[in-house]
Symmetry: C2
Subunit: 291 residues, 2 copies
């Protein structure tokens, strides 16, 4: 409860310790809603929780004002691509005066996997079923298929680029049929095969043009943000990733002929914990620790 | 001269400034030889100069002891891959407890370019000539073709992995014929066509096996370090980079099924300056600046 969280924060914030850091490993919007208050009080925050940075812009600005007012640090590398150097790399580029032209990528390990595997021989709904069994999807696969998770990551990167994007500004193509958005997980999984023909048709159409289907996110310098299924050339870098790989491609003024690309597993407990731990060490260095 | 460098260091190190940082953008071994003394005196160093970290191990250890003794920071992200997040990423992985299995990559933009372009239709020596004209090689192309620059980068990464490697431990396949190692640049360029047949044969042999030729560097956890021409599968990630791209692939305990890959232009004044500047901002953050 909120009262318990308050008691917890009071408990960790004691005068005889020089620094307090809260590591929020939940995905809770309620916890993320407290960040501004904590940062203003000088409490540092390290988190893989996307909710604060993808909340409405007013809160986002309040967060960063609170951070400045509290002289506290707010580190969230793990929010995009887990342990892959994404937020970091983007910030280094911007802070050293580069201009970001576009960011494109496959930001969901789940959706990467589904379309890496889907070749038309096995029905799409069966691949979803199998991915769920193997733990590659959220308990409710609609959380992945809706594209909302990818949209949140785009918002985080877009704001890091300096864009004033709101979540509703992202054009999201959801793979969850509107009729199945509500209801139980079981009902959803049972109904999903009815939509296999439609997605099989998309694949066939892409193939007829020599393309493959990939679920991507794209951000432009002009502030356009789109998330959805895209037909890509079979030789495209995004067409040749494996398993649950994420891939992020930064095109910038400096990296114009060839973009800067970061690729690899972008989700999972181990790599996420690694990223949170790396942020914690970075915080220690900022606070004067000699590592 | 050494005396001038000493006077310069005395000049920048004044009591009324809280911090002193020297940014060494030379490639000088003599300047790099002074780092230990400066770090011990509390002067921070930011540099793209590979010479200090690839010097003999005794000096390398002395450097890092001096850094600890002087409570100073020594930042050198730009030594490998310029602005690509390489040193950084490796350090985060190690410091958070990951174990590096191997690091493989194309670490030379020049050699990447030469073998991306070389398809047997134009003689290799002509491609070298053309690359030199376009400024893609060092003034003396032997500095690239010898593989020494790649070997130095491997040493830097190997030591970052915790290996006790000396430069002479790296097995380097030089593309400079032994007879042409000495003498003027012009004599070298004039003689190079005599070796075109030999390299054309290597390409033909690779092709007969369905492979391509790429100049790569490889480090194993066991401490094996090799640099040279390798036959790669045509679908290999390293076979499909463009222009002067570098690519670095980290296989670790966490990134075991799929490695973590960083790719993009890894040399050039703009991206190198960007990396040096990013290190400088990081230093400022370590010293308490609120950015």
């Amino acid at each position: 409860t909120a009262a318990e969280v308050t008691r917890f924060v009071e408990h960790v914030r004691v005068d005889y310790l020089p620094h307090t850091v809260l590591v929020d490993c939940t995905a809770s919007a309620a916890i993320a809603g407290r960040y501004a208050e904590w940062l203003a009080a000088g409490i540092h925050i390290v988190t893989p929780n996307k909710k604060a940075n993808s909340a409405d812009l007013a809160y986002y600005h309040r967060l960063h004002e609170a951070r400045r007012a509290g002289a506290s640090h707010y580190l969230y590398e793990a929010t995009v691509g887990a342990g892959l150097p994404v937020v970091h790399t983007l910030r280094d580029l911007r802070e050293t005066g580069d201009e970001i032209t576009s960011i494109e990528g496959i930001f969901s390990g789940t959706l990467a996997y589904l379309f890496n595997v889907y070749d038309g021989r096995v029905a799409f709904s069966e691949i979803v079923q199998e991915a769920r069994r193997r733990g590659f999807t959220e308990p409710d696969p609609r959380d992945d298929l809706s594209g909302q998770d990818v949209a949140r990551k785009l918002i985080i990167l877009g704001r890091e680029m300096g864009l004033t994007l709101e979540l509703q500004d992202v054009r999201v193509e959801s793979l969850v049929p509107a009729e199945l958005a509500g209801g139980s997980i079981e009902a959803f999984m049972a109904q999903l095969p009815r939509y296999d023909a439609a997605i099989a048709e998309r694949l066939a159409a892409a193939r007829a043009r020599g393309k493959v289907l990939r679920y991507t996110g794209t951000l432009s310098a002009a502030g356009e943000a789109t998330v959805g299924l895209k037909e890509l050339d079979a030789h495209h870098a995004f067409a040749n990733i494996a398993l649950t790989d994420n891939v992020v491609r930064f095109a910038t003024r400096r990296y114009c002929d060839n973009p800067l690309i970061v690729q690899g597993p972008g989700a999972g407990p181990e790599v996420t914990a690694g990223a949170v731990f790396a942020d914690l060490l970075r915080l220690a260095a900022y606070l004067g620790a000699r590592l």
